[in-house]
Symmetry: C2
DNA sequence: TATTGTTATACTCTATAACTATA
DNA sequence: TATAGTTATAGAGTATAACAATA
């Protein structure tokens, strides 16, 4: 089987890597409901300072209606709790339970193992570089996109194509 | 707004970058149906030597049932054609039309512009490194996963966790 | 009037299975 | 029997809109 032209297609390559990451990580996240998304939410609850559901949804670029049953299931699994926000009676502060912290630490260790495995074909320094660049790019994207505001996103896209090429 | 701990979550970061790539590229692919997937298929038809639908589906990790209506729409749009395979009367050889070649060249130029824009926050050499490492990782993943065989994938996962941790 | 969170509905995407025609 | 391709159906995932409570 010959190796054809490497395609040089970034979208395809990123999709390939991310799909593999998902496949492998899902198999390792037995204690967290909703697979990788549950993991991302729990991780954000513990590591970031994003107390409300809306803030979590915005950070993770998940719809807030999805966030509702995501948190529902994490709460049912005893990993997080919804507590009233003292400053805003509409909002709920999402906090991890003791078990939630424990499960996350365990999950993070397993995810690290998976990543070790998935990127085993790369030299250690290349792997570190890839992780660092991915992280940096993601942070840049998040910063340039204030609060993942859909209006701003549309405006930016229009600026990009700078013309009435409206499709759909 | 303070910058919290960088999360160090590869899955989140990859998802962020890929989502942004998709958003931007979709807005630029007016002539190709089915958005980025149509683009990937057309690109594979032209650049890779994957004559049959099954080979295309396997390469792009798309289900062969999906490949059917993907090619249906590309064919309706006059970008590819299904021609009989002289060696196997079950198979169809997928070839790009003249228009398909033209549309792809145009799309690739626009996608390159989008990528230029999406990664404008990275220094040129960092961007090149990121592209090269992503491509290399994707190729490694494809090679280690013979023909994207689901049985092999399951076996590999079981080997990874090396124990009866069967979930679901 | 705007926002947080919830619920219900509808739409899209994907996965599964069944079918045909070939091998 | 196995494979290439097609079709139909069901399921998961996602987006939209409407609603209640609060700001």
């Amino acid at each position: 089987m010959s190796h054809h032209a490497p395609a040089a297609n970034l979208g395809w390559a990123l999709g390939m890597v991310l799909r593999r990451w998902h496949q492998r990580v899902e198999h390792v996240l037995g204690d967290i409901p909703q697979g990788t998304r549950g993991f991302h939410v729990l991780s954000a609850v513990v590591h970031q300072d994003l107390p409300t559901q809306a803030a979590l949804a915005s950070h993770l670029a998940i719809d807030r209606t999805v966030m509702t049953y995501l948190i529902d299931e994490l709460e049912e699994a005893g990993l997080v709790e919804r507590t009233p926000d003292p400053h805003d009676r509409r909002a709920r502060r999402i906090v991890a339970t003791t078990r939630g912290h424990k499960v996350l630490v365990d999950a993070e260790r397993q995810v690290a193992d998976v990543e070790e495995f998935v990127f085993r074909g790369l030299a250690p320094e290349d792997k570190a570089t890839f992780l660092e660049l991915t992280q940096r790019t993601a942070n840049l994207i998040r910063e340039e996109d204030p609060a993942t505001d859909p209006c701003v996103a549309v405006k930016e896209v229009l600026d990009l194509s700078e013309g009435p090429n409206s499709r759909r």
